[in-house]
């Protein structure tokens, strides 16, 4: 159990998918103007990354690796991600049409989010077993959601702050993101080996 906990902390904080691996930067800057939007996007992305990671692990283990089709990995994974997003959309609509009204808006954005593909490719590189892959994908996506919500909170406060005109908007956003990345570098002092 300790092994899973260390893997979780490592994936969520030490090797954060946004601030350490620089994946999902489009949504990081585009969907973090409000905390509620960031939260909805983070929750939807977490679900899709975990589901697609489980399927991608099976596709790679039982289809691509045995037949030496590694060169098709990226294409196959993109296909699985698109299917996982459609599956999630159908599930949320079935579970509750009202929830679909609240959360359905974020789902189409996930298909083009490079963090989803990035996490799935990292799983293959890590040569993990099924449960390690699932824990890694869940932790990575929770780390993504955490950073999204933190950054959205900071940007909401920045919107009310007096910022020099040249820095207003995205420039001060990027400076804040770099400071947040520096803060997350502090986690790299935690040994997870």
């Amino acid at each position: 159990m300790e092994h899973y906990l260390l893997l979780f902390i490592s994936a969520a904080l030490v090797s954060n998918v946004v601030l350490m691996r620089f994946l999902g930067l489009c949504s990081f800057m585009g969907v973090t103007t409000r905390v509620d939007t960031a939260l909805g996007m983070g929750a939807s992305t977490t679900f899709c990354i975990t589901i697609s990671a489980m399927i991608d692990w099976a596709v790679d283990r039982y289809l691509l690796a045995p037949y030496d089709l590694g060169y098709l990995r990226t294409v196959a994974f993109i296909l699985v991600i698109a299917a996982a997003v459609q599956f999630t959309e159908a599930v949320v609509r079935k579970v509750s049409p009202t929830m679909f009204q609240l959360l359905g808006i974020y789902l189409p954005l996930i298909t083009t989010n490079c963090a989803v593909l990035g996490v799935n490719l990292l799983l293959v590189e890590g040569k993990m077993n099924f449960i390690e892959s699932t824990v890694f994908a869940l932790a990575s996506s929770l780390g993504y959601s955490l950073v999204m919500v933190l950054f959205a909170g900071l940007r909401e406060r920045l919107a009310l702050a007096q910022v020099p005109r040249l820095f207003a908007g995205p420039p001060i956003g990027f400076i804040t993101a770099s400071l947040l990345a520096l803060a997350f570098m502090g986690f790299s002092g935690m040994s997870t080996n």
Binding site: L39, S96, M99, N129
Partner: protein
Amino acid sequence: MESPVSSSFPGADESDLVEGFARVVAVEGGRVWLEPEQTKSCGTCASAGLCSIGKDLGEAKRLEARRFQLPGNLGLRVGERVVVGVREDTLVKGAMTAFGLPLLTLLIGGITGQEWGQSDGMAALGAASGLVLGLAIARVLANIFTARGILTPRFLRRAHELPQEAECHPEHG
């Protein structure tokens, strides 16, 4: 024209609400059908012109699927833009129920399968069973929330009207 029904969130002022715009698409038997306006979540992205998100492709169909009903005679006409809102904690509750709970049961099922069967197949079976169980519980919870009206957006005001707390202060110039 004064609206006969205003915000109906007991114990919540408008600063606790997540607001959004919607357009009245039909009025049937005193009930109003609204279609949420598409928000351009990734409009600021530099590659927005290259990707299909935010374009009209399938957008109309998607918006149609997200139509919702407001109860009561609100005195609204077809084509009017209104501001609707949900409580801030509604989004958290919705996300936790729809996504958080199934993921938690998935993880518990997967780890239990791995520890019990010591194989990837058992872990996958446990995770899939956990996911199905989580989705079933989420569905029950969502039905309870819907029956209590917790997830339903509420009418706040017409789009051109100012919020109630936005008063004019002549002393500030």
